[in-house]
C-alpha cells in the first residue's frame, strides 16, 4: 500500500469561481436548475425544469450548449445514492 502523498490536481476555473457564490446568493435559486457561465462567474438563467431553462438561456442571448447546468439544493436530505432499477 502506497504512502506516497500525491499532488492534488488544480481546481478548474469553473470550480474556483463557482465556489465563491455564497448561500445568500444562491438562496433565490434553491430548488431550481441554474445555468452558470462556463467560467462559473455568473448565473445566466434559472428555471424549475431544464426545458424552461433552455428557453431562458436563449432569451438571455446565450447558447444552451455553452452553459454549465446545475441543480441548486440548499437543504438536501441524506441521499443513499443510486436507484433501484427494474
Amino acid at each position: 500500500m502506497s504512502t506516497v502523498k500525491r499532488p492534488l490536481p488544480p481546481l478548474t476555473e469553473y470550480e474556483t469561481n463557482r465556489d465563491q457564490f455564497t448561500i445568500e446568493q444562491l438562496e433565490p435559486y434553491n430548488g431550481q436548475w441554474v445555468a452558470f457561465s462556463m467560467d462559473g462567474k455568473r448565473i445566466v438563467a434559472a428555471a424549475p425544469d431544464l426545458l424552461e431553462l433552455d428557453q431562458k438561456v436563449v432569451a438571455a442571448g446565450e447558447n444552451p450548449e455553452n452553459v454549465a447546468l446545475q441543480f441548486i439544493d440548499l437543504s438536501p436530505d441524506i441521499s443513499p445514492g443510486g436507484g433501484q432499477f427494474g
Binding site: 500525491r6 492534488l8 490536481p9 488544480p10 481546481l11 478548474t12 469553473y14 470550480e15 463557482r18 465556489d19 448561500i23 452558470f36 462556463m38 462559473g40 425544469d49 431544464l50 426545458l51 433552455d54 444552451p64 450548449e65 455553452n66 452553459v67 454549465a68 447546468l69 446545475q70 441543480f71 439544493d73 440548499l74 437543504s75 438536501p76 436530505d77 441524506i78 443513499p80 445514492g81 443510486g82 436507484g83 433501484q84 432499477f85 427494474g86
Partner: protein, 158 residues
C-alpha cells in the same frame, strides 16, 4: 488519467452524528460531463455523481430533447427513486469528460428518467465499467483511468 475534485454539498442543520458538529458542507465524488446527441448538440452538466451503487448512467428526462438524441424503443425498465417508480428510457449518446490535463469521449447507451434527479448519475453501465477508479477519500479526489473496455478516445493536454 483524469482527476476530479469531490464537490461540496450543503449539509442540512443540524449535521448528522457522522459528521463533526456544525459541519456546513460535505464532499461528494462528482465530475462535469458533456452529453452529446447524434446531431452534435450537447448539454454540459457541471456536477454528475460518480455512483457505484447505480447500475446505469441516468440523465434527466428532458435531456434527449435538448440534444436531439432518439430514444430507443421502451424496454419497460424503471428507476425506483426514493421508493417511487419512474419510467426509464435509453438512447445512444456520447459522453465527454474534460479536465485540465486530459479529455476523453466515448459512446454509450444511457438512461433518462423523470425521477427528480438533482444531478446525472454516472453508474456502471456506460461509464464506470470503462474506467479503473480510485476514490482518494483523504484528498477528496477521484481518479479515472480508461481500462481495456474503454471504447472511446483519450487525449492528453500537453
Amino acid at each position: 488519467m483524469l482527476e476530479f475534485h469531490y464537490r461540496p454539498e450543503q449539509v442540512k442543520s443540524p449535521s448528522p452524528p457522522s459528521l463533526p458538529p456544525r459541519t456546513k458542507f460535505r464532499l461528494r465524488p462528482m465530475a462535469a460531463v458533456r452529453i452529446l446527441g447524434a446531431g452534435g448538440k450537447s448539454r454540459y452538466f457541471a456536477e454528475a455523481l460518480f455512483d457505484t451503487g447505480s447500475v446505469e448512467v441516468v440523465f434527466p428526462w428532458t435531456t434527449p430533447i435538448a440534444i436531439g438524441a432518439a430514444l430507443l424503443p421502451s424496454s419497460g425498465h424503471q428507476l425506483h427513486w426514493h421508493g417511487t417508480p419512474y419510467p426509464l428510457r435509453f438512447a445512444s449518446v456520447e459522453l465527454q469528460f474534460i479536465t485540465a490535463t486530459a479529455s476523453c469521449r466515448w459512446s454509450a447507451v444511457v438512461g433518462f428518467s423523470s425521477a427528480p434527479l438533482k444531478y446525472p448519475l454516472l453508474g456502471i453501465a456506460g461509464c464506470l465499467e470503462f474506467f479503473d477508479t480510485t476514490f482518494r477519500g483523504e484528498d477528496g479526489v477521484v481518479e479515472l483511468s480508461p481500462n481495456g473496455k474503454f471504447p472511446g478516445s483519450l487525449k492528453l493536454v500537453t
